[in-house]
Symmetry: C2
Subunit: 330 residues, 2 copies
């Protein structure tokens, strides 16, 4: 009987995620039951959200210790016990950190074989749509808004930076090192990227934007969010997209100025996830594709090779080592 | 030369406000300079916000130690050095905890002598308008919304409760004792009032509203806000009106689930203060007056007599001893 390599979350970390939280095991291949597919995994999307899933229930249930690590990805149907998919089909959806994943058909979507698979994990997938809907439908950005985007070099951040520029905003980014800030400015063409670790961050931001920000597109949460709230304009809009600072830690550091600053500065904080805008997806994809085709919306990826590299890829992402969308190719 | 009794904030409290933070002193009466009025104070509004002003800068600058305690109130012009007001006029605006206040004319408004002065400090003043605009323009309440209102027995809360009922909402209130909850239910006619100090609060709220809340009208902040965020419906709206739990303490207790819960539950938190809706004030006053005239919107006051009672009135309000709007009559 055929074997399957799986990466199991063997224990939940108390603080930072470490390689020894995972173990590569060989198990027997589970054949698809009624309504299920056996999928050969080709590409895995590595996302900060994966760490949040380990921490606890989010918009999906928590990942339990002792189970295979789930991840969004693309694979090929090897064996189908579903009338919706045939052998040889490409599918996208929640797969596993594994060579093969056996999954119910209902959460998977068929991929057109002529599509560039990287596109589906970047601008035409969760990252691009999250940035687009977050800016257009939650932040409701307008030309000449001054917008600050955290994790500017990340998978969502890099698209948010470019989309905000394409919309005519003044765009500032935050990233975690001088090198990454330089990368963001040169590759994404925003007005300025600043190192959020700099102890003079508040002063530096005030120098570039003395009147503060209309919009903060927040992927970080925590004490950085606390700092930025003081820099918002009156009636500023904070788009709550993620909280990477809070996923990989033992104890939380909530912004201490909430709700006080929300009142005195009349702020609006609003959260979303990408699937909330399913009914606007096609329109968004058309716009994103046009921008990409014209060269205005660029894609940068940070690619790892081989299933074994998945833990390292996630750990590096959580410590801010990536520039662009992190992907594991099997 | 005539003397004036003032209550001075002699020191800022490290934790709870205490009577010995204040001192009643007699000083010489300041005569009005150009553009100023000398006002005999008649009624003082005692508000949780007064405590926030002591703590630090809010929507107004902080009250410094060694200065007279400011407060919203109504008084009579004794001497005018302004062409906008004459002796004998009644004025409303920021006065002082004092027998007489000398103030620039620009922040004061003339009061029609036929108006009931208590009305101007209750439903037709800051409390009523704050509740109205908070519900109508920020929470945007609709018929059949399920709404939770904290400090339900307080000056803003009591109007918020009644306005939400008049709009056709299912209304739950929170208050700090069984007696006050009973007072809220019987006087304000809401569906249920629960004691927020009850250790089984979450369970109790779930029993009454198993599907959660569309709107939370929050006057409290802190760990109560943290609890309620978990009880909001998907896309719930949190109207940030005040944070009384955070004004009278040495260290803050911010909600630890922000921004995580905002994202996973797609919440919107929005802050405001009453003056943001100055252009909608007249329409609001007309509606509030009609409700009041018809008997549908009731006014309850918690009245203290004499300037000397102002510190006690504020301290009692901060510890939740009031039911209704706290006023000091001089």
């Amino acid at each position: 009987m055929k074997k399957n390599k799986n990466i199991i979350l063997i224990k939940k970390p108390e603080n930072k995620l470490t390689p020894n939280c995972f173990s590569l095991v060989e198990e027997k291949l589970n054949l698809p039951r009624a309504g299920e597919l056996l999928i050969k995994v080709k590409l895995l999307s590595i996302d900060a959200a994966n760490r949040a899933w380990i921490q606890g229930a989010t918009y999906r249930s928590a990942v339990s210790a002792g189970t295979v690590m789930p991840a969004y990805g693309i694979g090929e149907v090897i064996s189908s016990n579903s009338n919706r998919f045939a052998e040889g089909d490409l599918v996208i959806g929640e797969l596993n950190w594994a060579e093969y994943a056996t999954k119910p058909d209902k959460f998977l979507t068929k991929v057109n074989k002529t599509t560039d698979l990287i596109d589906l994990l970047t601008y035409a997938g969760i990252a691009g749509l999250t940035a687009y809907h977050g800016l257009m439908d939650i932040s409701k950005i307008r030309e000449n808004d001054t917008i600050l985007i955290s994790t500017a070099a990340g998978s969502v951040g890099m698209f948010a930076c470019q989309i905000a520029k394409l919309t005519g905003c003044k765009v500032l980014g935050l990233s975690g090192s001088a090198d990454k800030c330089e990368w963001v400015e040169s590759k994404l063409g925003i007005d300025k990227c600043l190192n959020y670790k700099d102890p003079t961050l508040t002063k530096n931001l005030k120098e570039v934007c003395p009147n503060g920000f209309d919009v903060y597109f927040d992927n970080v949460g925590g004490s950085l969010l606390e700092k930025i709230l003081y820099l918002m304009k009156m009636k500023g809009r904070v788009t709550c997209c993620g909280a990477i600072s809070q996923y990989d830690v033992g104890s939380l550091t909530p912004p201490r100025n909430i709700p006080g600053i929300i009142i005195t500065r009349r702020l609006k904080l609003e959260g979303f996830i990408v699937t909330d805008f399913y009914n606007k997806k096609n329109k968004a994809l058309k716009i994103l594709s046009n921008w990409h085709r014209s060269g205005a919306l660029k894609v940068f990826i940070d690619k790892y090779s081989g299933l074994e590299s998945a833990p390292e890829a996630l750990i590096n992402l959580l410590s801010g080592k990536n520039s662009g969308k992190t992907i594991v190719e099997l």
